[in-house]
C-alpha cells in the first residue's frame, strides 16, 4: 500500500496530551491543514470525522487518558493527498479482530463503529504497532476529481 506520496511536505508535527480537549484541538488543526491543502468541504468533513475517531481511539482506548502518555500527530500534504499519522503509547490492538458493526447481531451495539467509519471516509488506512509500544494509524485522503 502506498501511504506516502513522493514530495510530501510535513505541515504538522506535534505531541498532544491524552485528553478530550486534544481531540478537539487535533480536529481543528487537521481541518485547517485540509483547507489549506485545497480539499473541498465534503472531503474536509470526512477527513475531520476520520481524524476525530482516530484521536478518540488514541486518547481513550490507547493511552486511556494517562497524563504521562502523549498522542503524536503528524500531517503532511502532497500535490493531491493529505496524509495524517496519529500514534499512541497504549497496549495496541488487532484491528482484524474487531467485530463487524454491520453484522445483524452488532447493529444495536453501543460502540464499535469508529474504525469502520475511518475506513469509510478515507482512501487509505493503515493500522500498525509501533516500538516500544503503541499503535500508529496512517490515514490518506486523495482530492476528489472535479
Amino acid at each position: 500500500m502506498n501511504l506516502r506520496e513522493e514530495g510530501e511536505t510535513e505541515i504538522v508535527n506535534q505531541f498532544l496530551d491524552s485528553t478530550l480537549e486534544s481531540v478537539d484541538q487535533a480536529e481543528s488543526i487537521i481541518m485547517e491543514a485540509a483547507e489549506k491543502a485545497g480539499f473541498e468541504e465534503d472531503d474536509m468533513h470526512k477527513i475531520g470525522m476520520a481524524a476525530r475517531e482516530c484521536m478518540v481511539n488514541a486518547v481513550v482506548h490507547g493511552n486511556r487518558y494517562n497524563t504521562n502518555k502523549k498522542v503524536h500527530l503528524a500531517v503532511s500534504a502532497g500535490r493531491d493527498t493529505l496524509t495524517i499519522r496519529i500514534s499512541d503509547e497504549g497496549e495496541g490492538f488487532e484491528a482484524s479482530n474487531l467485530p463487524d458493526p454491520l453484522a445483524e447481531e452488532n447493529l444495536l451495539s453501543h460502540s464499535g463503529r469508529g474504525i469502520f467509519l475511518i475506513r469509510a471516509f478515507m482512501d487509505e488506512v493503515d493500522i500498525h504497532p509501533v516500538s516500544p509500544h503503541g499503535t500508529e494509524v496512517t490515514l490518506v485522503k486523495k482530492k476528489s476529481l472535479s
Binding site: L20, V23, H45, M49, R52, E53, V56, V60, P101, L102, L107, L108, S109, H110, S111, R113, G114, F116, L117, A120
Partner: protein, 114 residues
Amino acid sequence: MSIKLNSRQVGDVTVVDLAGRITLGEGSSTMRDALRDQLAKGNKKILLNLGEVSYIDSSGIGELVSAFTTVTNQGGQLKLLGLNKRIKDLLQITKLYTVFEVHDDESAAVRSFS
C-alpha cells in the same frame, strides 16, 4: 460548540430539540441524561429533533442506538426528525437507517406514533 437541548410536549409525544454537536463527552451524556429524565416521567413517545445538530461522531451514534434500545425495552417508541444529509449518510453507511424511523416533517412524525 457543545450540545443544547430543549424538551416540549406535542400531544402525548415528547419532542426533544437538540442543537450542536453530539460527540464523546458532554454532548453524549447531556442527551442520555435528558432521555432518562423523560422516561422517569413516564414519557415513552419520544421524537428526537436533530434539525439543528451539525455533527455526530461514532460515540453520538452509539448514544442514539442506546436511547432507541432503552426506550423500546420500556415499551416506548423513539423516532428521529430533521436529519441533515451528512447524518442521514452516516445512518445509511452504518445500516442504522434500517433501525430508526426517520421523518422530515414534525407534524407527520407526531401523527405516526401509535
